[in-house]
């Protein structure tokens, strides 16, 4: 009996020895939190909190002229990218987060990542203009004109009211950016301007691909829609007509283009070439010289270097 009591005492002492360890404290705390707290709700709330705290204090860098971004702006873009990637991590079905992440990635020079984000954004919302438009710009700038044509065509097939609605119903991502603009730059105006630019890009892409009937169709559609400026579309029609050897039509279109934009060097060149074809060599040479002259001016070099820029959507 005495030996049993003694062994019980030893067992008890060992048991207490095991319990009087730090891991018991940690285990008790863990179990308490696991059993008594609704951890799923708390974790979801924590995610929202994290997103709110990750928001940047200012978004002005997002609406700045992209050709004038400084190093400090690029740092801000990296922070914005971190923020949008966090939204994607916590809310993987938010297309606008992918869109903005694509925009920031492209500004930071990561083209492949940007394309990936825009493609995912399109999967989630195939009816938003800007995802296709921006993707088209990326493809156009890198010279992938077939892909650009696909994206830009998809863009003009989207429904503008739906695109506008998508922007206005994004209180956390798009609206803080929209609210930075003054009244004359509301989303509707921006969308209209973007649609016009989209047509220009599409026409230019078809031109690069030498698909002249498509150039004519796009430029004609754009002119029918009543754009702010007709010079570029007249130029496209003129070049397409020239390539299809319809020189009389080409003359008319190119003259109309030059009337509105006298600095269009290529239009002068094509006009000169047409006159050559028609046997008016002297006049043709004059126009080609004019074209060379315009190309050698500083203003022309600067304007030619302008790429098409992504929109912050």
């Amino acid at each position: 009996m005495a030996s049993m009591n003694f062994s019980d005492k030893i067992k008890f002492a060992l048991f207490i020895n095991v319990l009087k360890r730090n891991y018991i404290l940690y285990l008790a705390l863990f179990l308490f939190i696991f059993i008594f707290i609704d951890n799923k709700t708390e974790f979801n709330n924590a995610k929202l909190d994290t997103l709110n705290r990750s928001m940047l204090y200012g978004n002005n860098h997002l609406i700045k002229d992209i050709s004038r971004l400084t190093n400090e702006d690029k740092v801000q873009f990296q922070r914005s990218l971190d923020y949008y990637e966090r939204i994607i991590e916590f809310m993987p079905n938010k297309p606008e987060a992918y869109g903005m992440a694509g925009f920031c990635s492209y500004i930071l020079g990561n083209k492949e990542k940007a394309i990936g984000y825009y493609k995912r954004a399109i999967e989630l919302n195939p009816n938003f203009f800007y995802f296709y438009h921006n993707l088209g710009i990326i493809y156009f700038n890198e010279g992938s004109y077939e892909k650009a044509v696909w994206a830009l065509n998809k863009a003009i097939q989207t429904n503008p009211p739906l695109s506008l609605q998508f922007i206005l119903y994004s209180p956390r991502i798009y609206m803080p950016i929209i609210n930075l603009y003054k009244n004359d730059m509301n989303p509707a105006f921006q969308l209209k301007a973007a649609y016009q630019e989209n047509y220009q890009l599409l026409g230019s892409s078809y031109l690069k691909l030498k698909k002249y009937p498509d150039v004519i169709q796009i430029a004609s559609s754009a002119l029918k829609a009543g754009p702010n400026s007709t010079s570029f579309y007249n130029y496209l029609l003129g070049v397409a007509a020239y390539e299809l050897k319809e020189y009389d039509k080409a003359l008319v279109f190119l003259k109309n283009s030059i009337e509105e934009n006298p600095e269009n060097a290529d239009a002068y060149y094509y006009l000169g070439s047409i006159l050559h074809q028609k046997g008016n060599t002297e006049q043709g040479n004059l126009l080609i010289k004019k074209s060379d002259f315009i190309k050698n001016t500083d203003g022309y070099s600067a304007s030619k270097e302008n790429n098409f820029y992504l929109k912050h959507y």
Partner: protein, 588 residues
């Protein structure tokens, strides 16, 4: 202890509460050890600060949980402690009484604030909107549950990439985790157990995500006055955790002899822990370089401490100093880099200070507020209520809140542009039957009629006007009839010489504590035009004096200032002059 506040180190309301609490516990500890007057006075002074700044109930909960846990763990020493306290108080009766008196008197501001909250003279809609208690200071349970400690800890987990750290995110240095793991299998010391239990009790009491929280809210009266329970994480749990880690480290260091009986297993365990941390850091994304360095230095520290030989790079110093150097390096290196990223991530774009963008208002302008008066409002704007503004107000007078609930905030701005109006006639109104449209139109058009709330039963017929002007006169400058002698936030003194009796309206929000005197005789101050102050001024020469609160109140507050400064000064004197027990000065 202050550094444990981490990323909230410079957050004002945290510092208001944390600093006196930390000092209180310091003085409590020294008083319990050595029974000095300076320690008792220190405790008293800290309590006085706690009772007069922010919400003292944070301290009450922390202290009560401390006492409960202390009694539970150290019950054997309680008798000795009480006897020693009693002996001290017996020997220092007058001093103890004076400390008690100072403490009791410092309850006055908090108590008067509580009373005002109960009377409803101010409102706090953001906190209070649907609270059960009628006291304006109380917070509805929904507001208290907006934030919880577990939520803050999950946010810490989600911010594990320390390069993206932000303000108010809890940060634990990696060395803390290393110590926790090294001590994982070690015996729990009594002090560790005490700290763990104390922290757990605070966690249970302050965690709004626990099902028991509504019970505490209902039955513990001061739970209704907290809005930010998650502050306990910063005020109590982080410092307690820091003490817990320090105690864990202390147990390892002090048990060197036990460890040396089985050195190989312990060395192996230390190596495994550090390698595991290294591997974890490698697999984590965007890890700071200082995290790796901290792990390496930690390994050097433990191996240097327990090794029988001195590690070569540290052999130029004695072991004691080399260990001190290592500890200092470990505890500073990672926080330095983390706080660098905190600064970068929390840099706000520079904003113009508001006074830089507007012409400076004249400092000598007692007659108007703002640069210009709004034009008369159209009917739609006039009758629009500013209920959302009222709901979003954090703190304001009840009269102002009442006004913007019933009328447009633009009307308030327009009317209160002029500080003083003189009316020829008044109309008594009852709060139960207010004709909002009539009052709004009257204020908008500067009609010569002031609406006085005097608990009247209904509208009295308007006094037919005899030679009264249609428009009320705003006072725009000093003149023989009306001259401002003194104007500051708490008082206004005016000399008048009116040709007839007029009703003066001062467009500062009405509050019951304001007092009025005419020629040093008390005069009745009315709530006028819903939210403002008004009183009759007789014809002829008079001196009108308006003052916020009574002379007794001012005297009490000046007396409190004196008590505070005296206590602080005397505390410094005692700390410098009391002989320390070990021959070392208290402050060094």
């Amino acid at each position: 202890m202050f550094a444990s506040l981490g990323t909230r180190l410079f957050d004002s309301h945290i510092m208001f509460t944390a600093i006196p609490i930390i000092w209180f516990f310091y003085f409590l500890t020294t008083f319990s050890k050595e029974h000095r007057r300076s320690s008792l006075l220190g405790m008293t002074f800290c309590l006085m600060i706690i009772l007069t700044t922010y919400i003292p109930f944070y301290f009450v909960l922390i202290f009560l949980s401390f006492i409960t846990t202390f009694v539970f763990i150290y019950f054997k020493v309680l008798k000795r402690i009480f006897i020693s306290y009693f002996t001290f108080f017996n020997k220092n009766k007058i001093f103890s009484l004076l400390c008690t008196f100072a403490l009791l008197i410092s309850l006055y501001p908090g108590y008067s604030f509580y009373k005002e909250g109960k009377s409803g003279s101010f409102v706090m809609p953001v906190r209070h909107s649907s609270a059960e208690s009628s006291n304006q200071i109380s917070v509805d349970i929904k507001s208290t549950s907006e934030r919880s400690i577990t939520r803050e800890l999950y946010v810490t987990f989600l911010f594990k990439d320390l390069k993206k750290i932000k303000f108010k995110v809890v940060y634990f240095p990696i060395f803390a985790y290393i110590i926790l793991f090294i001590c994982f299998f070690r015996k729990t010391s009594k002090l560790s157990f005490f700290l763990f239990l104390w922290g757990s009790l605070i966690f249970i009491l302050s965690s709004t995500s626990l099902p028991i929280h509504p019970f505490f809210y209902k039955y513990i009266f001061f739970f209704k006055y907290f809005r930010n329970f998650h502050f306990f994480l910063w005020l109590a749990l982080l410092p307690i955790f820091t003490l817990f880690i320090a105690e864990q480290l202390s147990t390892i260091i002090n048990s060197k002899n036990d460890i040396n009986d089985q050195p190989k297993f312990f060395y192996l365990y230390i190596i495994i822990v550090h390698i595991s941390f290294f591997v974890y850091l490698i697999f984590s994304k965007n890890t700071l370089a200082s995290s790796y360095i901290a792990v390496l230095l930690s390994f050097l520290f433990f191996s240097h401490y327990f090794a029988r030989f001195t590690i070569l790079p540290l052999s130029i110093m004695s072991k004691k100093y080399s260990l001190l150097f290592l500890v200092l390096a470990i505890i500073t290196i990672q926080p330095l880099e983390v706080f660098k990223y905190l600064c970068m991530n929390e840099t706000r774009p520079p904003r113009k200070y508001v006074y830089d963008s507007l012409p400076l208002p004249s400092l000598d302008n007692s007659f108007t507020k703002g640069l210009s008066r709004l034009s008369p409002l159209d009917q739609n704007t006039l009758l629009a209520k500013s209920s959302s503004n009222a709901q979003n107000m954090y703190y304001g007078t009840a009269s102002y809140s009442h006004f913007i609930k019933s009328f447009s905030i633009n009307l308030f701005s327009r009317y209160s542009h002029y500080q003083f109006y003189l009316y020829d006639q008044i109309l008594k109104i009852s709060d139960a039957k207010i004709n909002n449209a009539e009052i709004a139109n009257s204020l908008n058009s500067d009609r010569n009629l002031a609406f006085v709330s005097d608990n009247a039963s209904g509208f009295e017929p308007e006094v037919p006007s005899i030679n009264f002007k249609n428009k009320a006169e705003p006072v725009t400058r000093n003149s023989e009839q009306f001259r401002i002698i003194n104007f500051d936030a708490n008082s206004v003194k005016i000399e008048t010489d009116l040709k007839k009796r007029n009703f003066l309206v001062f467009t500062d929000p009405f509050q019951e504590k304001w007092e009025a005197f005419i020629n040093d005789n008390p005069a009745k101050l009315y709530r006028t035009n819903i939210a403002f102050k008004g009183l009759w001024i007789p014809e002829g020469k008079n001196t009108v004096f308006l003052r916020y609160s009574s002379l007794q109140d001012y005297a009490m507050k000046y007396f409190l200032f004196f008590i505070f400064y005296f206590c602080f000064g005397y505390l410094i004197f005692l700390l410098l002059n009391e002989k320390p027990k070990d021959g070392q000065h208290e402050l060094f």
